[in-house]
Symmetry: D2
Subunit: 365 residues, 4 copies
């Protein structure tokens, strides 16, 4: 069966490069379009893009000619790595034109009819897609993945929320420099330093994303979960991997063993479906007293950079328990999150007949 | 008037060197004895000590011969930079022999009759000294300063506690590598990394030190303050300066302005007495959105490394308010803390007649 | 006697801030004008400048209104921290208008009639000033200081060149991130990395600056010194302080002791004149086996950041000797270099009568 | 065909762990013995070893019981990661007892009858093995690999030496912290710093290793190459990858193109034999103006960490040309170097009949 054609919007930037990298050798997808700003359009990818990831730029894309960010290219899915300044409108144009947009931008995350999606957490929110298409009269649609620091917080909490009901969350993040893109954080600002401020980040974590992600689809829309979150967000001199100190209170206080068990038993839909980019397991619980650590654990698991690693579970004097959570910010927290969303769409038949067959073969394999 | 003779226990280590550095040119104190382990005793300081601080080893101490850590040297105060493995007993021997011991070690911090002291916070706890001497039949006595991360947390909270009554505190620390001494943290462990574990640190911050420091002396002992603290302690790749994300709930919820006012009005005894190492003010409130930062602010204020810098005050969704606190860990958080304690002892007459006069001249100046 | 009025061109940038910082409390100079690009002109300095140095922006300049970079302001000297894109022309306009321009920009460094100056090394090149004024019909004039890495290389070599005649130099630099300005080097590029390329740097060190600096003024112009230099320039993750590995061959091979002696005996004009920013001594020879080191030694000496520190002198299998040299790149290597040049101009009477008197009083003091 | 049994001496240390990691899934070798100091002997590997590499300790070795470092274990080859304090004698005991010792320690590198080996560079030095066995009356023998910084310098020079004759070399190294083992370099020493001294390193690079490696076996012993090397060795804050600035002079000066061609044409025996750990190609020439860089290029090539990456080739004002060389220090520069040596021994029949067959099948594959 031939692969599904995909494009990347904003292909020359930091997240765009990750999309390109992660799509190499993908069993279901092949890149047929790279799109970027006018300045890059018309150039070869190798000339327009300052490849920033370890390893060389993949051969398959070096000679591709970059196109402008407007509907037209021959592909079914577009992955959006656009900056929020331009993402909003461009993504709408693509969806209106019939494309499936899997976006890492924040612009549409909080729209009532757009799924904010972590495949392990809220696959039932895909039901918003039909509502979205109907509302907007589009033949295509938009799905989004959450912010990098929210992703791993909610991933770690989800199995606990299902069993014990999360009520209150304290979280302090120690976020890697790659989260700010390239050139992003000046070395003058971060060498031998911590910056206790990341614009807009605390708002996303406190009020917007966890509540929607853990909310319930009631047939019409998503009823936000009733969870109070307090977040302090900090930038630290690590390259990749957001580390988060989390304290949590539940509806019903579980034992410490029950929490560990909930993490260990966790086998959500994405893992059952054996989506190609779904790590097995989704959550890794590390018992060692000083783990997880960004450098040692950000690539842990079967699909490097896609798992959430938790550890240091212990009682909390104020709330019920505290623990550390860690995850890769530019893989699962950005491009990889969108990619897994696309895989879920395929597996759940949101790309038509072809998608159903691909999904099936994956489940059998 | 001649200066008060002081000695340093553990003079060759990281904290010992800070004592030596900070005592250079001190208006009240002069070093007359450097003491260290058997291995170093008998050697010149310049030969036994691998000077690790910026700038050269002070001329005045280079040729001093290191003595063993036992009572005998001609000095009135001994500053203890001993490791906890040996501090406990040695400090007792010195106190029994009539010395005033100002210790940075943790061994006696939690003894009922030993003051755990921040001069700005709980000078009235000095009353424990007479009880201690009576209890133990000593002619000298021991005072201690708290752990580096507790110091700045409690310093920031004290003016708020006095006015609004602190009830609950959630704190996540991002601590500098110098807090682990030398050689301390391996570069292999911390480059491009964060270590979410510091042995014993969370226990000190949660259960032991803040409650004693903010406790009330009732004539017999210290009644611990009824404050619940939840602490996550992390090591980050900064050289100096512990940064702390703090959320706090009060007996009575103040306005944000009242909190700022409390910090700005803060003028405790140490500052009123104009102790030589007391920064003016003790707490610096920085309004900038991305401050305090370790590299930029750890030396802020009139006595570099002695102030606590706070900022980013804002409402907290779970408790009342949240803010960031920063302070130098090896200056105020260690050697400087002990030194300021000694200055308070002098000013309050705990070193006899000479001390009273020195204090007076300082207040006039 | 009233101070000499000075202005700073490009006052809001990284080097401009250093000028502002170093001019605070200067015994001879006072800032009367801050100039920057159109975008900043008309704003208060505190509003237009993101202060990037440790410590707060000096009170004295906070409220000053930034002016445009054109002749007019009431001052005698202008220090130029302009980028090379604009420095060339603007500096000429100021010189033509009668100002004394002390520039850190590279534009005029290699002009035949413009002194490229290190006060310790080639004060006799000041004779070019009269030639320059005559050539160009200017009432003012331009002097320049060399590139940061050249400065400390040539400073270390000068006393050796005078005695033994430097013929060949091999140098590999390990340069700090601050050398690239702000925001300068992206943290994504330098964390856990070394970049073996700095645009234009090797050319300056190999062909242009050392030969002019060590050249001889023959009454008409500077005859470049006949020295062959091979330079590899690298960016390393240190904040401040350029470290250089140097191998050198002389006309006549001295003994190792003679080299040390040449450094120790070094007492050039700037030091004899006791210029306010001249460190005493200019060169610090450190015997320790693992020194100089950027973090420990970049601020060594009597005027922090102005000295050159050398060490690890030992025989070289290919040339005669090898050693390490270190110096602060944004102090002596940039703003401090220009400032010392200005002090030399004053002391040598290049600012008229006032200057002579100031110089004299300095020499007496 | 069954695999060859191998043991690791010093298995719990930094280099020992790399051996264990690199031997996982090796097509020819399987670990049957882990040996370490008395303190660890008798314990399970998982209990005695603080696994320090990214990824988990391999399952296959977790439960293995560590043995003491003395002959006895059932294996044919022992890889030695012992510290030089103990390596000398222990390696001799193993060789005397019939084991093939592939050592990373420096102790026997300079023995006249012990090969100091880079398979690409001097495979003909294996002839020393018979001489060694005869000399010492051993049934086994010792081979060694060079120091990490020498390895990549000589690897880069070898194809040039063969064609143009290397006469003079200037090299300045910027070496990663992992080169000092674990805990190795204190973070207090290296954060925001460079240390211009590594004990013993310059001696190895200048006088001992390059000359032996590039020397000629004349039937009796190795005639050292007549090359003069000047080395400055520095420690920089990078995790892995030694970067070296190299200037070189040849017997006959080639053109720049000829040098590039020599690197590109390079296809030595190890690559012809398709040894499992031999990268294809051995040397990667990167044309980009700012490469190689440690973080981006240390894992370049077909066998990550085994290639040498060169770049920035350009004329040198003093010698003929200069360039940068980079290689991984704990992979090719340590454990991987020994491992490739062992593969060469197998392929060349130095382990008997079995070895010949394995070699053959590899060449066919």
């Amino acid at each position: 069966m031939s692969k599904i054609k995909v494009g990347v919007l904003g292909a020359t930037g930091a997240v765009g490069q990750r999309f390109v990298q992660m799509l190499q050798g993908h069993p279901w997808f092949e890149i047929t379009a790279l799109m970027a700003s006018e300045r890059s359009a018309g150039k070869r990818y190798v000339d327009a893009c300052r490849w920033n990831l370890r390893g060389d730029m993949p051969e398959a894309v070096r000679e591709m000619i970059i196109e402008e960010c407007e509907p037209g290219p021959d592909c079914q899915i577009v992955f959006s790595a656009l900056p929020s300044e331009t993402a909003g409108e461009i993504e709408e144009e693509f969806a209106a034109a019939g494309y499936v947009v899997c976006s890492n931008a924040r612009n549409h995350r909080y729209d009532d009819d757009v799924p904010l999606l972590i495949p392990e957490v809220n696959p039932e929110h895909l039901a918003l897609i039909d509502i979205q298409k109907r509302n907007r009269g589009w033949s295509g649609y938009i799905t989004t993945n959450p912010n990098c620091s929210t992703t791993h917080l909610v991933s770690a909490l989800h199995p606990l929320h299902v069993r014990f009901g999360v009520k209150k969350v304290f979280v302090v993040t120690m976020q890697a420099i790659s989260g700010a893109g390239y050139p992003g954080v000046s070395s003058m600002d971060i060498l031998d330093n911590v910056i206790p401020y990341i614009s807009g980040e605390e708002e996303k974590m406190e009020h917007k994303e966890p509540q929607k992600l853990l909310g319930v689809f009631d047939g019409v829309g998503v009823r936000y979960a009733d969870i109070v979150v307090s977040a302090h967000c900090n930038r630290v001199p690590t390259r990749n991997g957001h580390l988060e100190a989390v304290s949590v209170e539940f509806e019903e206080k579980p034992t410490q063993e029950q929490i560990v068990q909930a993490w260990r038993d966790y086998r959500p839909l994405a893992q059952q479906l054996k989506l190609p980019s779904a790590p097995q397991p989704a959550i890794i619980y590390d018992e060692r007293i000083d783990r997880p650590q960004p450098r040692l654990d950000r690539m842990a698991g079967t699909v490097p950079g896609m798992a959430t690693v938790v550890g240091r579970l212990r009682p909390d004097p104020l709330l019920h328990y505290k623990f550390m959570a860690l995850g890769h910010n530019t893989i699962r927290g950005a491009a990889g999150g969108s990619l897994l969303n696309a895989e879920l769409l395929v597996a759940q038949g949101y790309l038509g007949q072809a998608s159903a067959l691909l999904a099936e073969s994956a489940m059998i394999a």
